[in-house]
Amino acid sequence: MAYLTCKDLNIGYEGTPVAEGLSFSVSAGECLVVLGENGAGKSTLVRTLLRLIRPLSGEMLTGDDLGKNEIGYLPQQTEFQRDFPASVEEIVLSGTLPKHPFSPFYGKEQRQTAKANMMLMNVYDMRKKSFRNLSGGQKQRVLLARALCATERLLLLDEPVSGLDPKVTAEFYQLTSDLVKNGIAVIMVSHDLHSALEIATHVLHIGSRKQLFYGTREEYLASGLGKTFEEGGASE
């Protein structure tokens, strides 16, 4: 069964729909790329998937014993304060909190989880460094390590490469694609069609307040929808 299945989901704020009729699912080892222009409802979908807001109607089901809040979130870069004093280690460790909600101190197991994920994301050597002094690519790897501490099953990446240069973007996609190959399910929101499609296994395309496409990457490429999106994007 899929980790997450959405059926005929209508999303929006306070009764006003932003996007309607979304039906899709994500399973282990899949990378679902969510495409759409600005205002198509991508951010609303992210907030709904994080359960910060309720869907207006429709179903959102978790499978395979995935907990309701078991989702590792990588927020957009712009949401961080530039001068926040926090070390890499402090940030990654905070990702282990949801699994141990009642202990006031970090246990051995939490420290080991954090260490393993810092090694995996290649940020262990900079664990004492301050987050505010890192480069864009390094910050993303730290936040990905934190997300992996929260869950090793389902990740939600919100515009993860915006503001990164092409070389760092390629590295980030490589890391993500390795995670997917290892059986993690990834939902990635993007407005950058080209490179995102390289690692996608499935595509959800929303526009004009409804679902335009959901299917595999191959079907999407064959549909020609990508082409119109690209042209629309270029004229922005």
Partner: protein, 285 residues
């Protein structure tokens, strides 16, 4: 040379007085609590809330003295706590007007408080009363043992709950959406933080007065952020430096006969300037 030895002699004499010891203890405790909460407020971009709350506390105090309540805290504390809860939780929903809401509540309460004190004269010297509530009176030097015990209990509560919730406080302060998406009870934590801030503001009014309490809240955290790059370091630095500045401030004000509140804030400001300078040097190096 003589003046220094004279001053030291005078200090020795004062330190044998009970009221000086009590002032030092209460000053240190309030400064310690304010600095811990200050780290959260500054990083959550809520620096102005301390300021707003202190004005509300001033308004409530004016109302309490008009009503001639025996224990003014019965009115001041609940009003301030409720305002804090309102500002920290609901102003987030009216996101665009968050800072405007604080400013509005703040000046509104100040005006009402002054009006009440002026209209229903409670003492022979209204402007003197107003001035001492705003800038802190000499009341810190007339503290009773019961005030010390009250401060001690509050400080223990603040420090213990800060330690117990330390990691959650970090998570919510650094990235509230991530914390909430993991199922953390961020709403409860915010309410809790709001309540404690209100209590500290009310405690601090005696010490530095309601205009200057927000200095005790923001300066230590800002100083720490200039020179330290991790959360734990900033918290420890704030707590230690704030306590030090409070003690220095009380001692200096006794020695030179200056107003207690303003002296403490001046010491805090001095430390901030040193840290800001150090920060520039460190970043270059």
């Amino acid at each position: 040379m003589n003046t220094i030895t004279d001053s030291l002699e005078m200090l020795k004499l004062y330190l044998q007085q009970g009221f000086v010891i009590r002032a030092l203890i209460v000053g240190l405790l309030v400064a310690l609590c304010a600095s811990l909460l200050g780290v959260i407020l500054v990083l959550k971009r809520y620096s102005f809330i301390g300021d707003g709350l202190s004005h509300v506390a001033f308004g409530a105090m004016a109302a309490a003295s008009v009503l001639q309540l025996a224990n003014q805290n019965i009115l001041i504390l609940p009003v301030t706590v409720l305002t804090a809860v309102f500002l920290l939780t609901y102003s987030r929903k009216m996101k665009l007007n968050g800072d405007a809401a604080v400013a509005m509540v703040s000046v509104g309460a100040l005006a009402i408080g002054y009006l009440l004190m002026n209209r229903f004269k409670t003492g022979p010297n209204v402007s003197g009363d107003v001035c001492s509530t705003l800038f802190g009176s000499t009341s810190i030097l007339t503290l009773e043992t019961s005030d010390v015990i009250f401060s001690l209990i509050m400080a223990v509560i603040v420090v213990v709950s800060f330690l117990l919730f330390y990691h959650k406080i970090f998570a919510v302060t650094f990235d509230e959406i991530f914390a909430e998406s993991c199922g953390m009870k961020t709403r409860f934590l915010n309410l809790f933080i709001a309540a404690i801030i209100a209590v500290i503001v009310v405690m601090g009014m005696n010490l530095v007065g309601s205009l200057l309490i927000s200095a005790l809240i923001i300066f230590p955290a800002l100083s720490g952020m200039r020179i330290i790059g991790n959360f734990k370091g900033v918290v420890i630095f704030s707590a230690v430096s704030s306590s030090f500045c409070a003690v220095m401030g009380v001692l200096l004000s006794i020695l030179f006969g200056t107003p207690v509140g303003a002296t403490i804030v001046a010491v805090d400001l001095g430390l901030f300037l040193i840290c800001a300078l150090l920060g520039v040097v460190l970043h270059r190096g």
